[in-house]
């Protein structure tokens, strides 16, 4: 691998060509990465020419270079948002100090853990989605899936860069381990629960990119505030790509709803069975998918009371969403935050120290952002004259982490007993039958401009291209 033309092969703004130690580390890691991509990346995709966006610089004009690329040849680059020499830590105990350009010894273990946890989600989602290409509802969607996949791959590169550049030998070992864990593997699973779930069909993929990639957005936003400047700059640039993933989710569900609403109008019926027989996904099933992905994703923010969260904040490692736009003292000592817990069979609110509740603060920011998008989905229904609306389940619904773990709560927010839960679970969460039905609709459509019957075409194409553009070419 010594013949890599740095800069051309690996677009970067970190002076890779001038950093021999980093080159050696990446030269070791890169073949393993490609081997992992071939084994666990999108299935049967290596020979396809895909119309992809490649970032070649951090300038606005460099973010979006569109061309046909074979995915194993994708130029996974390393980009940090431009450095602000005057940047200072703006929260926690060390607020006001210059931002760190190297890892402070006392925060080394925590920073490594934060980076590894973030990095682990990137290859995990590629693994979860690896079979979806075989059932894409159109070339447009197939291309969007692959764009998400290569960008998750680039995010892995970004985290591996930090591990290699700033964490020496342990960093290299952690980078290698990121390629060894496997989503859903019993012996060596991915670190976070939601990243070991399967993404079996395209409705699940759209829900995943809407909700779970939005968790990614909020985590990246919190890390983009970090006092460790290279982490802040790396994650800030990653956010530009994360936005595309949420677009795929939001527009994918909106187009599914559009088609469902059209079918309901044609049938003059809202009977789920009739909708299914007409080849669209009924609203009740979409609602159950939403309930599942929403509840699994809000678990990703961690326990509602967490001393780790307090430590990360006070140490200046991980801030809040839009930390710089908040007008409190950015230390939070003496402040409180209200969390929800179950007491005596009822949900009750309790004030806890804000510092310990920062996971909950971030979760609530996420919830506000998610709810706004669901409002836009409902406008699709409204425009099509459908009276039904999608709703967000209560945040205590179906939780596995934190003080609400294991408490049986209905989507409406009532604590219920085990028997009631069992009775209604099939109305609240996707059933095996739902998944089998959705799977039965999944068939690959490869004719340019054609779309599977369960989803409407998008309003605009990618990069101003027409809808019937050959977004993927089969060699």
């Amino acid at each position: 691998m010594s013949a890599i033309d740095y800069g051309e092969r690996i677009p970067n703004n970190v002076d890779l060509a001038g950093d021999r130690a980093l080159q050696r580390a990446l030269e070791q890691w890169q073949p393993d990465y490609l081997a992992w991509w071939h084994e666990m990346g999108p299935e049967a995709s290596s020979s396809l020419d895909v119309y992809l966006r490649t970032a070649i610089s951090v300038e606005p004009s460099g973010w979006a270079n569109f061309d046909y690329v074979k995915m194993p040849d994708y130029r996974w680059g390393i980009f940090l948002a431009p450095r602000d020499e005057a940047r200072r830590i703006h929260f926690g105990e060390q607020a006001g100090d210059p931002a760190w350009q190297e890892v402070p010894g006392e925060h080394r273990a925590n920073l490594r853990r934060i980076i590894v946890t973030q990095g682990d989600t990137e290859p995990a989602s590629i693994e979860q989605q690896r079979h979806l290409g075989l059932t894409a509802p159109s070339l447009y969607d197939l291309r969007n899936l692959f764009q998400v996949n290569v960008e998750e791959g680039r995010h892995l590169w970004a985290m591996v860069y930090l591990l290699h550049r700033y964490f020496g030998r342990d960093g290299r070992e952690e980078a290698a381990a990121l390629l060894e864990r496997r989503s859903g593997d019993g012996d060596n699973p991915r670190i976070l629960g939601a990243f070991n779930e399967r993404t079996p069909d395209w409705l699940a993929f759209f829900m995943f990119t809407y909700f779970t990639d939005r968790d990614g957005k909020f985590q990246l936003c919190a890390l983009a505030e970090s006092g460790f400047d290279p982490l802040a700059r790396t994650t800030r640039f990653m956010l530009t790509e994360e936005a595309h993933h949420m677009f795929v989710g939001e527009s994918g569900v909106a187009r599914t709803l559009q088609r469902t609403a059209e079918v309901m109008r044609e049938l003059g019926s809202d009977d789920p069975r009739a909708v299914r027989e007409a080849g669209a996904i009924d609203l009740a099933t979409i609602q159950r998918y939403l309930n599942f992905h929403y509840s699994v994703t809000i678990d990703l923010f961690g326990a509602d009371v967490s001393s780790n969260a307090a430590t990360f904040y006070s140490a200046g490692l991980k801030g809040r969403f839009e930390e710089g736009k908040r007008d409190d003292d950015h230390r939070l000592g003496g402040m409180t935050y209200r969390i929800v817990e179950a007491v005596d069979g009822r949900l009750a609110e309790r004030d806890v120290p804000m510092l310990n509740a920062l996971n909950e603060v971030l979760r609530d920011d996420f919830i506000r952002d998610s709810v706004a998008g669901i409002g836009r989905w409902n406008r699709v229904l409204e425009k099509n004259g459908v009276a039904a609306r999608l709703v967000v389940p209560h945040k205590a619904f179906n939780r596995r982490i934190g003080s609400l773990a294991g408490v049986r709560v209905s989507p409406g927010g009532e604590v219920v007993d085990e028997q009631t839960w069992r009775l209604h679970e099939r109305d609240w969460l996707p059933t095996a039958d739902d998944r089998a039905f959705v799977a039965s609709l999944m068939g690959r459509v490869v004719e340019p401009g054609r779309f599977a019957g369960w989803i409407a075409p998008p309003p605009v194409g990618v990069n101003r291209q027409p809808i019937d553009f050959a977004y993927v070419r089969f060699g």
Binding site: S57, V58, A64, P82, P459
Partner: protein
């Protein structure tokens, strides 16, 4: 915001092209707001919107938008742009055919620059193959570079109506590497009427990469004192007046450099066709000066310049330009306000030279640069197309080739 003219049933109204975001397609990801160099994009819990008073249609937000929602434009009468508050309440965009004050858009609406409607924009999005690698964004608004004014010279005639200046900034020990075609941002000191820091203004550099004074760390810009708006009404350009009034030794805060596509080829055999008006001459002067200093003889590429101004007295760099040997650069001037003579625009001069122009455009080593007011784009493109077609070649093919190989660049404002 760009100027244009729309015609109503009974009167000619000055119009502007307003940039809007489609609330039905936007996913509220904040990428545009993060990208906008003019802070023109803002949001509430419902919508992301563009403030028409701040947007200068620099297009920096277009590529990064993941949805395509960003790329919407409406022609509205000047002064009747959709306000921020109105946009925040929208669920859908207003119809394309109903400007805010509802004047009918007549045939001359074609005068609106085509930049936003072209499938890929009129110019290339990649630099020339042999361009040097540019440095960008070295100095941010939060940490600008400090430069000292080394000179401030009027370059339009003393009796000309317009006051255009050649300002030389010295960066001392602060690194500020620029290439011909790049721009820098000037941050005027103080705050505006609302108590906010002034927005930086961008200026193309008019000196070559080795400095206005070769070997020193200095950069020249070309600044026209703004005393009237596009409609001719009195207007005080805060940044341009600040710059034009600077004295030697004054300190200036500078950000950038910016731009990674409007760059000159390093191949000495490459031909340059340069088309500009007014202070759009800045990058052309930089490229011309770069070539002049290299002083290549045999085998050097040709330079052809089309340069428009209202009169010779208002033509920046008129004196030095006319002293350059014809063998070095083929200069074609167009004056639109010479008393007793018909108005002539750069595209008229291009049509007169169509045969020579077509011969140059047939050469794959020819690079075309256009800089000036946005209104010139369409006329220039039409003149280029006619020249190529008159030579019996397909313009769409030639245009695609120019764009794909980074040989056609626009910098308009």
């Amino acid at each position: 915001m760009e100027a244009a003219v729309i015609v109503t049933a009974d009167a000619t109204v000055e119009a502007q092209k307003q940039h809007l975001i489609d609330p039905e397609i936007c996913i509220r990801c904040n990428t545009c707001e993060e990208t906008c160099p003019s802070d023109a994009i803002t949001h509430d819990a419902r919508n992301y919107v563009v403030d028409a008073a701040k947007c200068n249609a620099c297009m920096a937000c277009i590529g990064p938008c993941p949805t395509g929602a960003i790329d919407n434009w409406r022609i509205v009468a000047r002064g009747a742009a959709h306000g921020v508050d109105a946009q925040l309440g929208w669920d859908v965009l207003p119809p394309d055919d109903a400007p805010a004050t509802a004047p009918a858009v007549a045939a001359t609406a074609g005068a609106v620059p085509a930049v936003a409607r072209e499938p890929r924009g009129p110019g290339a999005t990649v630099p020339p193959a042999s361009a040097a690698h540019p440095q960008v964004n070295l100095h941010s608004p939060r940490a600008p570079a400090r430069a000292i004014v080394a000179g401030n010279f009027r370059i339009t005639a003393a009796d000309a109506a317009s006051d255009t200046r050649h300002i030389v900034l010295d960066f001392g020990a602060t690194p500020f590497p620029v290439l011909e075609g790049q721009s820098i941002g000037i941050v005027p000191p103080g705050v505006d009427a609302d108590g906010r820091a002034h927005v930086a203004r961008r200026y193309s550099v008019s000196s070559p990469r080795d400095g206005e004074r070769a070997g020193y760390n200095n950069v020249a810009i070309t600044v026209k004192r703004v005393t009237a708006d596009h409609g001719g009404r009195a207007a005080h350009g805060h940044c341009s007046n600040y710059l034009c009034d600077l004295a030697k030794g004054d300190a200036v805060d500078v950000i950038g450099p910016f731009g990674d596509t409007f760059l000159m080829p390093d191949d000495p055999a490459a031909n340059l066709v340069m088309i500009c008006t007014g202070t759009g001459s800045a990058p052309m002067r930089a490229m011309t000066e770069r070539r002049r200093r290299l002083a290549h003889g045999e085998g050097a590429g040709r330079l052809m310049l089309f340069f428009g101004a209202r009169s010779a007295a208002e033509l920046p760099y008129f004196g030095p330009l006319t002293r350059l040997p014809r063998t070095f650069i083929d200069v074609n001037l167009a004056f639109s306000r010479t008393p007793g003579e018909p108005k002539r625009y750069v595209q008229d001069r291009m049509r007169e030279r169509a045969v020579d122009l077509a011969a140059l455009l047939a050469d794959p080593r020819t690079h075309v640069y256009v800089c000036g007011l946005a209104g010139m784009e369409e006329g220039v493109l039409a003149a280029l197309a006619d020249a190529v077609r008159a030579a019996g070649r397909d313009w769409d093919e030639a245009w695609d080739s120019l764009r794909a190989s980074g040989r056609l660049h626009f910098e308009t404002y």
